[in-house]
């Protein structure tokens, strides 16, 4: 399967001439990359995706796919695959007809359609469901039909708009693995829109964190997590302590903090609450001065070493406190 690089060049989109949905966004997505657009609702991630798909036309800026400017190309000529949160299956058609739709539009000969539909359904483990209607399938099955329908045309680019958002947690995790595995196997360029940071971190090659129509940071999951560039990124991804010691603000992950004896520690305080999370416990510590700190204690034993009310000392390495752009 071929894949294509995607480039957004200074793309801007406003709605009703007032609301700035996407503000001069520039992104370079490599061919074959699993790329996530992450951010809260209204950050412009879905609008960006819809401009790649062609549902929205940018007010200014260009969209390139595979080195070709497709900004003015209508949706149906862009040759992409897309999976929607609501799956958007054709309710009046069978599973096989749904999957065959894109091939039919491409005027693929009938025997080949049948062969490829069967292969696509096998790929998502839905062989035997050909004659069912979407209404007769579970959410997870519908999701897989939507995936098969998008991938059967072998698009160079697959766009996913919160595709797992409607699934329950267990199924969602399973689908995360399956989707990631499938993407790597097919080598397709995948643009994945999500507001779920864990999902983005788990699946992506790279992530663009968006806020207020702008890209805050682009990087690998590790870079985004370990080296957040702005306060927004630091806050949005995982738990964070923001240190204000004069100069630039610094971000410190709770697991970078070590619990020590109060004497000689950087900060001394008292455990307020301890939230048991299974493999770790998240403690809220109120220092004698300043605002409370989150501390993650990973423990091999049954429970954390500190209980609410215990006096503790906190310490960390300076290099773990990341300076943020203001």
């Amino acid at each position: 399967m071929t894949s294509a690089a995607i480039k957004l060049d200074q793309v801007t989109k406003t709605f009703d001439g007032r609301v700035m949905a996407v503000d001069a966004v520039t992104l370079d997505i490599a061919a074959g990359e699993f790329f996530s657009l992450l951010g809260p609702s209204g950050c412009g991630k879905t609008t960006s995706l819809r401009m790649i798909a062609g549902f929205e036309h940018p007010d200014s800026g260009r969209v390139h796919v595979g080195g070709r400017d497709i900004t003015d190309l209508p949706v149906h000529r862009r040759d992409m695959g897309m999976v929607f949160q609501s799956y958007a299956l054709f309710p009046h058609r069978t599973v096989a007809e749904n999957v065959a739709f894109g091939l039919r539009m491409r005027e693929v000969p009938k025997p080949e359609i049948e062969r490829r539909v069967a292969a696509a359904l096998a790929q998502v483990a839905l062989t035997g469901f050909e004659t069912r209607k979407p209404g007769q399938l579970s959410g997870g099955q519908q999701q897989r039909v939507a995936l098969a329908r998008a991938l059967v045309v072998e698009p160079p680019v697959l766009l996913c708009d919160e595709p797992l958002g409607a699934l329950d947690r267990k199924l969602r995790q399973q689908m995360q693995f399956e989707l990631k595995e499938l993407q790597k196997r097919l080598g397709v360029t995948l643009v994945f829109v999500t507001h779920d940071q864990e999902e983005a971190l788990a699946m992506s090659d790279r992530i663009a964190v968006m806020n207020g129509g702008k890209v805050e940071q682009v990087g690998t999951p590790t870079e985004i997590y370990e080296r957040p560039r702005t306060r927004f990124v630091a806050d949005f991804i995982g738990e964070i302590n923001i240190l204000d010691g004069g100069g630039p603000l610094r971000a410190l992950r709770p697991e970078k903090i070590r619990l020590v004896a109060p004497d000689g520690a950087r900060l001394a305080g008292m455990v307020e609450t301890a939230n048991y999370l299974g493999g770790s416990t998240l403690l809220r510590v109120r220092p004698t001065t300043g605002s409370s700190m989150l501390v993650r204690e990973t423990h091999a034993g049954e429970r954390a070493s500190r209980m609410p009310g215990d006096a503790v000392g906190l310490t960390w390495n300076d290099s773990d406190a990341v300076a943020l752009e203001s």
């Binding site: 149906h76 309710p91 739709f101 329908r149």
Partner: protein, 271 residues
Amino acid sequence: MSAAPNRRPFDVGRAAYLTLNALLLAFLLLPIAIVLVFALNPTPYISFPPVGVSLRWFEKFFGSAEFMNALWLSLWVASVVLVLSIVIGAACALALARGNLPGRAVMTAFFMSPLMVPAILTGLALFQAYLLSGIGRPVWGLIAAHTLVAVPYVIRTTLAVLHNFDRRIEEAAAVLGASPTRVFFEVTLPLIRPGVFAGGVFAFIVSFDQFPVSLFLVVPKGETLPVVLFNYMKFDLDGAIAAASMVSILLALSVVLVLERLIGLKAYVKL
């Protein structure tokens, strides 16, 4: 040993609900029953208890060239109105729901306005307009008038379907390579069809039973069934009227049943 089943306590609310339903049903069906008795009654007036059963009024109805001409004209007009109003109504509904038009509320009200003006005035106004513009009263003028009052029904039912329509389904088709035209015929039309046809059933019945609008617009020898029945009633009030009513009811019912079979109102409910 199995436990004794729980006895359901007597539920006053449920009993009242069932009684109310039974009364409503009786209220709706009783007039039809009376018409049927009158239609099968051998005497030219209703006699209770009925003195016998006879098909003479049906024979008179089906044997009368005047009634038959009127029946065929009404069926023909209603069929054309059905086709015209689903095409126009569906197009209007799509434009109203999708068109991003300025003053959409005003336009919706405008398209619905034939339902708010008393039909007799619509008929009189069109009659006057036709005469003044020298059109006269051709049958297409009658069809246009019926279509005018039938289209709002199609708009209403189609808008209802469009209101719950997930546009992502159309987008999915477009991404898969369907041009706007193909999206419309492959996805949009099949999905709004139940709403359009439900409106079409109304349109057919509105036209077939139309009296006030037709009153002024029919021409001598080109009168629709309701107009012929009304005039017949002024001179001969006998069972032929009841027989004609039964035939009308059965025809309307069969149109509904045939369309239900063809497209399935179930699909409509599911959407």
